[in-house]
Symmetry: C3
Subunit: 372 residues, 3 copies
């Protein structure tokens, strides 16, 4: 059971060119390409004639030709040319056309009723293309259910154990989790003052601003979740009692696209306002992500999936701790939205706009929480 009336990330903008590509979203193969004017197109990838995958064919102008028997489909998904004797085109000769939007360096695909495809439902990730920020991103193929990854992201105390020695500190796990639900959005915020700098953060602040590692710092991790699985973390450190301007911080985005119940495309980003146009800082962040996400989170989450098999994790009666509150809320919010969709209730709109938050956080050192 997936939320269908929702936007899912199909690709980073820079992954998609005029070549045909395919990605499986909610168990359905989707064909992706760009038209000659650069606009993205998304449609079902299986030719209705004999179910040959269309990405094995070729793009001709703004259309795509099946590589098996040559039926040509327009961007609307309808067959526009039957090269065979007679040339008649059955009205049934068409594939599903996915509403698609390119926004903030991502290709967003709507998997539900075409009429309900409201671009305003895309959560605000304007920071990806905001002035004064620089974004790097990538995608990981994870052999696990996407909600196990959501759980991971909504309980960042795992930094102290899974990322011990890199992202861990002495102040995260003992901090209080502030969980806020607003509309369809769940926030999981941790304000972790007066601790030691997590090594990766300390190293960054040292190299960026000559920070003395023996000093205490304040650390914050504010995670925003929107259904089905789009998360944005505002995370950083500043010298004890100082505003964020005196420290280093990033946004990190996480977009989880279910391929199947046990496989997920995990699109990640790091959005920074420090070290702009500096390839060394790029390399620093890429290396940190590779080490932490690919080398530590992915194996752990895949091991969880292997352990629980095809059973829903909640049917196995996990023993909860307070740190699970935000993950639990997101799971319930998603289940509610899926149930509502079945009943025909309109999708919930997402978080309050990001720029409000950006304004609020300017110059503040206290936790910046959304208006509830």
């Amino acid at each position: 059971m997936y939320l269908k009336n929702a936007w899912y990330v199909a690709a980073w903008s820079n992954e998609l060119d005029q070549e045909l590509m395919t990605r499986t979203i909610l168990e359905k193969p989707v064909l992706l390409y760009r038209k000659e004017n650069g606009d993205p197109v998304a449609m079902g990838n299986l030719c209705p004639h004999r179910f040959a995958p269309l990405h094995m064919g070729k793009r001709i102008g703004d259309t795509v030709q099946c590589g098996y028997h040559g039926m040509v489909f327009g961007e609307s998904g309808k067959c526009v040319l039957n090269p065979h004797h007679g040339g008649v085109i059955s009205p049934a000769m068409k594939v599903h056309s996915y509403p698609v939007i390119e926004r903030n360096s991502l290709i967003w695909v709507w998997t539900g009723d075409e009429d309900a495809a409201d671009p305003a439902l895309i959560p605000d990730f304007s920071c990806y293309s905001a002035d004064g920020f620089e974004t790097i991103g990538g995608v990981m193929d994870v052999q696990a259910n996407y909600e196990l990854i959501t759980d991971n992201l909504l309980d960042l105390t795992h930094a102290d154990f899974l990322h011990e020695g890199t992202l861990s500190s002495d102040a995260i796990t003992i901090s209080k989790l502030e969980t806020i639900e607003a509309g369809g959005t769940v926030w999981a915020n941790r304000w972790c003052p007066d601790g030691i700098a997590p090594p990766v953060w300390g190293q960054l602040m040292q190299s960026q601003m000559g920070f003395d590692l023996s000093q205490k710092i304040d650390h914050w991790l504010y995670m925003r979740w929107d259904a089905p699985a789009h998360l944005l973390l505002d995370v950083g450190i500043s010298p004890l009692g100082k505003p964020r301007e005196d420290g280093v911080w990033v946004y990190t985005g996480h977009h989880l696209t279910p391929v199947s119940p046990t496989r997920t495309l995990y699109f990640w980003s790091i959005v920074r306002n420090h070290g702009l146009n500096d390839p060394e800082v790029d390399a620093f962040w890429k290396g940190s992500i590779e080490f932490a996400f690919n080398g530590q989170d992915k194996p752990m989450i895949e091991a969880q999936q292997a352990a629980i098999g095809n059973t829903d994790v909640n049917d196995l009666r996990p023993v909860a701790i307070p740190a699970d509150v935000a993950g639990g809320r997101a799971r319930r919010a998603l289940a509610r939205q899926i149930a509502n969709e079945v009943k025909g209730i309109k999708p919930e709109s997402g978080a309050s706009p990001l720029d409000e938050l950006l304004k609020k956080s300017a110059g503040s050192y206290a936790p910046v929480l959304p208006v509830v």
Copy 2:
């Protein structure tokens, strides 16, 4: 559901020597070997004692000894020696004996009732060993249902798209498909006159007879199908309005042996009457097959299979085009024969003999169709 009262190809003659080998046919492992006099033997591959595969044992004279506990089986499948204390042989100690015939360089195995195993039911592939012809052949392991391959072969318009630049022309897809059903046989014939030479054919005619590639040609593709999946294609080109003797042509055979619902052994052949004993022409044809069958048809058909999964393709409501008529007829003819088999109706005999056709085609340039 397979047609059981039928001959399937288990191997090319030159694949089988006195070593034990095994092939899985209709989901059953079959043991194959040659007796000392060279005659082929086919029997069930699992020892009835503990189900050890017999091909892991050894041949002793014309018998085979299980490699686990030493029971010895004769060519009839009956145990002929129990080396154990007492040495008693239970009448149940036997494996299924498959009727087997070596004909036209192929090992044919009958999978149904032994009494119904009529060698006359083997379709005519006498061209494989006809005077003045030379045959090369091979086998591919395809991860797809055999009927998807039959579909491929009965709609050769795919040459224009899947084999674009090698086997494609400007006259195949727009040609009319002539479909003929005679007895259990289906013919799918295309007469494609006045076109450009498909590059592979043009190159061949140029090298064999100095053909000028700027000239127009006539092209023919006459495919014969017999249940369960034995196909013979008479294909070639000749200069516009000239008889086939002035051009180049081959027979290509296709024998599809189901391993499982989603896996097929695909035995192919090229039978030519040009460039005899010329290793360069051998290499030309082997290269063309490798490029087209292994490099293009196989990936496309396997992608189709992966897309439809375990569902029957027809349950997915494919949108038909006129080019599907022959494939549809073959599917219905096979379904009818399988249904008849369940009712106990005798197997249908195959196509009219090939030599009639050969005589008719001599000196003709018009399409040579079988007598209905």
Copy 3:
């Protein structure tokens, strides 16, 4: 259906150190490690919080910390530290604790009711650590049901065929199988006098005592089976009519731990009283095991498993021979014990102690059978 009230081998003693390791036993992942004093610990490997595998965490003193969110478990399986805000520990935060015993160089784990875990139910393998004997051992990962391996071991006539030229002779298969059932134990004994020396045995006796290979020998193979699948073979040769002291012999142990219905951890041993502290004799036995078990038995048993698939071998109506009697008895004895366990009947105790047998066999050349 497994026998749960039973001891299974989880590891050789020398495989287990203070590092965390995991083995799957009866389809359940088990965490294994040693405490600081060296005592082994066995507990469920999945953290009850989110089912992260505990072996991906770390040992801290005698406890283990989950590598995902830091819950700490004591050797009893109970959570002893919750590092999170609040630090409350739910009584449900615990994993199964497996009774574990280290005996005779093996780590034995009890998979059933803790109250029924009687160390006296471990079959006697005291020879592994007896004075005057030296033991080498290993473990193989076999893709087959453990009872197929039991069958293999209880019918050693397969030596004549599967191990032809190494362990085969002219006297095994024609010998009479003496099957004895005593309590929960099944013996399968073969006394094979007046034959040629199996090549491996002949080679050993030649190198150890200058034996002349042209001489006839007596050969014995006495296999003891205890549920669920612990086997001990007393096997050797002596010059014709001479006591075992004049020949060479070993005990070989076989402990089969089901991972799943189609996968087994196979712990094997060779226990010898000849060539003590001689690395060449070590190498001789390791090479023989590698050749015979890994190179011949394993492929054959895995091929059997592949042939029968998920069906129970007995549902396929194997055709029995007298050599199957012992295997059949062991299968029925195990089925009876599993049925009894369901009814709540106490586990059966195993074989008569090994030292009685050792005393009896001293100086004898006749088959040494247990008292019934």
